[in-house]
């Protein structure tokens, strides 16, 4: 009987793993970029008031319901499904964000965090935040070390936008992120730079390009500069309808100045395909 149960469970385990992979592949990087950008701006300084003039906040996370410096550490981003039966275009999109908020304290490194769920209403193009409503706000019963999150949230927002721009080169100008002396080396050695990348994809007949970000590591170099390392799991369909895949290692040196990310060095290289190590090397 145990054997039968085991056999029955096998496909479920397989399907769960496949579903997790599918979830990662289906992650909407535009939404993730907008959410990280919002909290990055909110944690940087009070410029968010100019950047999102129409926003209505409940300030539930802040002491005395008034904005102060803090750190929103994002735990989960879940777009709220929309009514597909409606004929009218949506006035905005809603995204439910689960996060841990830490208020900055002038006199201590250790603060009490708050586990929160907020419902954000974005404009139809996700560029503006209209409303933030707090649905859950539970104070931790322990203290945590305060770690600022403004820059890392802005870097993550940039990465999602950058990745979206690489997958759909005509959707965004990637050069807006580059410093004047930026050095860019793509994995495809015959592609001279970002300006040639779109032409390269078109020449190869590549469509449905998708770069999934894995193993992201953000390390501060000094107060403004960061070293960012991660991997792309890239896939696309070529002109013959075949699936092309690659593992690409990416390394960036960037700075965050006044809430803006600026890339100084971006380097990609193809990675060796990952296979079962046990089957890999023998004597």
């Amino acid at each position: 009987m145990l054997r039968v149960i085991g056999i029955l469970l096998l496909p479920m385990v397989y399907q769960t793993a496949t579903a997790q992979q599918a979830d990662e592949n289906a992650k909407d990087y535009l939404i993730h970029a907008s959410v990280y950008q919002w909290y990055g701006e909110l944690d940087s300084n009070e410029d968010w008031r100019q950047n999102h003039p129409q926003v209505t906040l409940d300030f539930a996370e802040y002491p005395q319901s008034s904005w102060t410096q803090g750190a929103h550490q994002i735990l989960d981003i879940a777009p709220v499904s929309e009514d597909s039966a409606s004929n009218n275009p949506p006035a905005g999109h809603q995204v439910r964000v689960t996060l841990e908020f830490y208020p900055a304290a002038a006199d201590s490194d250790h603060v009490t965090g708050q586990y929160m769920q907020q419902l954000i209403t974005f404009s139809p193009d996700y560029q503006q935040v209209f409303k933030v409503e707090t649905e859950m706000n539970e104070r931790d019963d322990f203290e945590s070390r305060y770690i600022a999150s403004a820059d890392t949230n802005l870097i993550r927002a940039f990465l999602y936008n950058w990745t979206q721009g690489l997958d759909e080169p005509d959707s965004a100008s990637l050069t807006q992120w580059l410093a004047s002396d930026a050095e860019v080396n793509l994995a495809e050695t015959q592609v001279a730079g970002l300006s040639d990348y779109q032409a390269h994809m078109q020449a190869q007949g590549l469509t449905q390009s998708r770069r999934v970000i894995r193993n992201l590591k953000i390390s501060p170099l000094d107060e403004q500069q960061y070293q960012v390392e991660f991997e792309y799991q890239w896939s696309a369909i070529n002109g013959d309808g075949e699936t092309e895949i690659a593992g690409i290692g990416a390394s960036l040196r960037l700075s965050v100045v006044d809430g803006k990310v600026l890339v100084h060095v971006y380097t990609e290289q193809y990675l060796a395909p990952k296979t079962d190590l046990g089957a890999e090397v023998r004597c």
Partner: protein, 212 residues
């Protein structure tokens, strides 16, 4: 219901479930092999056939590429035998469009003659390749096929040494740690995936045929 009937019914249900699971997994495994970017490339090396051979010579063929060495005691002969069994199951027309290449990483010992004799035991159509160490290293790098010499000490596998040449070549045996992948290269010289000695022969055959 007797105990015997219950037993037979139970076995029947188990077998049916097992069949369903096998069909499920075999369909998943049989998905079309993707094109792998960032791995592979053309190369030219001395061959066991006495002439230089390039990968591009085999365009329009599916190439099964393996890195190993003739003194390898276990994984090389097992893998080549596995490939050989698969090739035997192809029709003559299909076989004419499949080429097996064996690249020797033991540039100190293996010669084209060694490779020719060694591979003839499995299938005379298999081509062995060996050249200067730098050239082999370059090809191994192209295919991310890591290898390293483990030790220069005498090992118990010495009796397996092929002695096609003079006794001058007799020297101590040694082992290499090396990739056990069988690289599958399509008719456009693009790497499409890997097989291993554990890959079922029918799966290998179906995948190779799908690339022809």
């Amino acid at each position: 219901m007797t105990n015997n009937t219950r037993f037979i019914l139970g076995k029947g249900i188990s077998a049916a479930i097992l069949c369903l699971v096998m069909i499920f997994f075999s369909n998943a495994a049989m998905a079309q092999m993707p094109v792998l970017k960032g791995i592979g490339g053309d190369f030219t090396l001395n061959s066991s056939k006495g002439v230089e051979v390039s990968l591009s010579d085999y365009q329009d063929k599916v190439v099964m590429l393996f890195f190993g060495y003739t003194n390898c005691p276990d994984i090389c002969p097992t893998t080549i035998a596995h490939i050989s069994q698969m090739v035997k199951r192809l029709t003559p027309e299909q076989r004419a469009r499949v080429q097996v290449l064996f690249i020797s990483i033991d540039t100190d010992y293996d010669t084209p003659e060694h490779l020719n004799k060694y591979l003839s035991y499995f299938d005379p159509s298999f081509v062995g390749l060996v050249d200067e160490k730098e050239k082999i290293n370059h090809v191994a790098q192209l295919y991310h096929a890591e290898y390293s010499k483990l030790a220069n000490e005498k090992v118990t596998t010495e009796f397996k040494k092929l002695s096609v040449d003079s006794e001058e070549q007799a020297q101590e045996g040694y082992l290499y740690s090396h990739s056990a992948k069988i690289f599958i290269i399509d008719t456009k010289s693009r790497v499409r995936g890997f097989f291993y000695v554990g890959t079922p022969i029918d799966d290998m055959k179906d995948q190779v045929i799908s690339l022809l």
